[in-house]
Amino acid sequence: MSDVHFRFSPQILARLGEELNQSVDQSILELVKNSYDADATSCVIELKNTSSKGGEIVLTDDGNGMTASQIRDGWLVLGKSGKSTLKKTKSGRTPAGSKGLGRLAALRLGNKISMLSRPSGSFRYGLDINWRSFDNAATVEEVPLTIKRSAAGPKSKGTQIHLKDLHAPLSSDDVKRLARSLLLLTDPFENKGGFKVELKAPEFADTESLLKTKYFEDADFHLVASVTAKGTASAQLLDWKGEILAEATHNELRQNTTKAYKCPRATFDLWTFLLKGGQFLGGRRLRLSDVRKWLQAFGGVHVYQDGVRVNPYGNPGNDWLQMNLARVRSPEERPGTNTSIGRVSILTSRTRELVQKTDRSGFIEDEQFFELMQFLKDALEWMARWRLQQAERRRRAEREAAPRVAEEHKANIEDVIESAPLRVRSSLKQAFTGYAKSRDKEAAALRKDIQLYRTLATAGITAATFAHESHGNPIKVMGLALSALRSRINSHTTGDVQSKLLAPTNQIAKAQAALSTLSTATLNLVKASKRRVGKVDVHKSIHDLVTLLTPFLNGREASVTVRLANGGAYMHGSEAALESVFANILNNSLNAFRRSGTEKRLIDITSAIAEGVCEVRIADSGPGIKDVGVADVWLPGVTTDPEGTGLGLTIVSDTVRDLGGEVQLLPHGALGGAEVIVRLPLLGG
């Protein structure tokens, strides 16, 4: 048999139509794109009784219409795209639809379809499809379809598609999504005419009026970045008046490399709103809640390829540039999808083109796509860097201005008091002086705290730097040389001579190991990964810390017993936070032993888990808390150790509170010395 060919079961229609394609709104959007490609200026979609099963959708456009052969060889051929993105339509549009699979998805929404098309000329062409007639057919080709020709009346060109007997009702959310998709289909950011879509449904009117109210001019920042066909980028940051705040060259965006972006020509606009009551309303005409509502409906970065929107970029929940993630990591001065709206306009050329996936779930993620994303992210990074620099300048200015402002306020109040009735003036003066004194005292205490924190931070940074240096080569050379020395002593000497040589060698090795541990411990504490917030195990953190500190604990002749409840104790936080808590408590115990000369130096760490809370008790055999009130030990700077900072327990208390837990101190606990009880909330508790 030579005349054989592939044939398709009607089930392929369900595979390609219902299962491959996306939501109702995206399916209908494909029909609208066909109207756009047919150079229509208007496309009207009417929903009839769609809130229940069996409803109808009618789409009518005033495009070029199709002849019988165009219907037969184009519209009815699935999977074939006659549309080249490089070949424009008669009115200069770049074709938006492709492959015909999206159209199939839309047509499969109903059990029956009627299509009527009127091209130029005196005839119109109709086609009826009843999907049920495919149910019993062996192959798709076996079901005959007839294109009927009839004389056209005076009515002008266009196509009408009537989807009947819908399989499923359209929910109000479906209609809202459809309204949003239709409105955003052709670039609504600029008032370019040429293609108007109307959806006859109340949801459309609401969404349309929201979209029509544009707040672009009120954005606090407008980022305008572009990349040329040769891959050279530049950016500008404008304020709400349109004045240039900053400009960046390609190298500045790329952070000092000249490498071109290998992506199609594109422009990127991002309008960012501060949405802070006091700052936002100053002098401008709008209400914060209106802008929030608008951004909620249309926020995000939308992508337009040759003037037509590409789904799903910028859809609700689609944060394809990871703006929200960046904002969470560094919330200051970064836009999120709820505080900004953006548009990326991509222009296709012969050498650079982004290709959309068959299932319309965005672009194929090839090198060009990633290069485009890199350009966009670089532009966002540049804007964030600039805004951070400004914020730092502003803070510095505020810090410098604060005392002067306070003095001005003080003088104002004193003036007001002077104008008060004589009988209350003196008591007002007295009350205000007392208040001012206590404020000054508080400010002085805070300044002292800040200084102390800065000193400690500097000490920490310096210690880490030295730890890097010392743990690097000098300690390494000592270790290598010592192990070689030991090996040579063992192989070249015997008996007494060997023992005499090995004894001091071992002493040096011990000292080298202690030095090595000291720097390892310091470096371990400052590891960046420990500051990452996520799921952490309280028990593991305690074990790791005790292991890390063992050389120091041995050096102080302190013995630590760890008896923790079975299993992991997982909570939300960072390793660094837990380490801060337990390291400071252990440090306090070691300092207490040293100050009091405690002979039997014991630290007992236990834990218990009940009702979603992990309770950790750290008890020591030191002298306990004396000479200071238990309530005061948490205050910064309160210490009975002349060499202490008085910050350890403040850090413990602040950190535990940040972790959502609580901390308690027993002046004389289970071992006679201080006992700290830390309660931390566990995940799933």
Partner: protein, 227 residues
């Protein structure tokens, strides 16, 4: 003298470190094994040319991890060691810090032996070279034997244009431990696809070769990622 392991004859060992004192200290151990030691004191230059030079003139290498503190090298020791291992060249990586970084973990399949400087001795050098040679002929220790297994990718971030860090879980090794592993995006087109999918909030699962017998995180490797 030479150290002969199976068909490999190791006699000229190159010592790579950006500090001359450290290189000189490596020499003690190598010379005590009666092997010839040569300190590489010139800047390493281009990686490919350097690797070819090593192959032409040496039969073993001891290399420090941190090589970029000065102008000595533009790449770290993990790159040198993994390149040489892939060409069946016996190598040892010396690391001064505890804990393997995410970038080393990405190459750990090709870095069979990491030793702390103070633990370097005639015995560890011999052990390391034996381990390498054994692996070249497909003989893996239980801790290093690779198995194809499922890797769950929970988050991903692009460190630089060429480097991606995945936070993964290997259920067959330890279902409760999150592991950071750094990969070069150019090495496998799958990496960029995964980055994009995970960035959209998906949790992805792929297959990879993992030494499921590894006793701790520092010895774990993940290689040959496939969908």
């Amino acid at each position: 003298m030479a150290l002969v392991i199976e068909q490999h004859k190791i006699e000229r060992v190159a010592l790579i470190d950006d500090d001359p004192e450290v290189r000189a200290s490596y020499r003690f151990h190598v010379e005590d094994m009666n092997l010839s030691a040569e300190e590489i004191d010139r800047p390493l230059g281009d990686i490919d040319a350097f690797i070819s030079k090593m192959e032409a003139f040496h039969t073993g290498v001891i290399c420090d991890y941190h090589l970029k503190s000065t102008k000595y090298s533009a790449f770290d020791g993990d790159i040198v060691v993994s390149h040489l291992y892939k060409r069946q060249f016996p190598v040892i990586l010396c690391s001064r810090f505890d804990g393997v970084t995410a970038s080393v973990r990405g190459l750990r399949r090709y870095i069979p032996y990491i030793v702390r400087a103070e633990d370097l001795s005639q015995q560890t050098v011999k052990e390391a070279f034996e381990l390498c040679v054994g692996e070249f002929s497909g003989k893996f220790t239980p801790e290093r034997k690779p198995y194809k297994t499922v890797v769950r990718i929970e988050s991903a971030k692009s460190l630089t244009e060429q480097e991606i860090v995945f936070s993964i879980v290997i259920p067959a090794w330890e279902p409760k431990i999150g592991i950071d592993v750094s990969v070069k995006s150019a090495e496998n087109p799958l990496f960029k696809r995964l980055l994009s999918k995970v960035a959209q909030g998906n949790i992805e699962r792929v297959s990879a070769q993992v030494n499921l017998g590894a006793e701790n995180l520092d010895d774990l490797f993940i290689s040959d990622w496939t969908e």
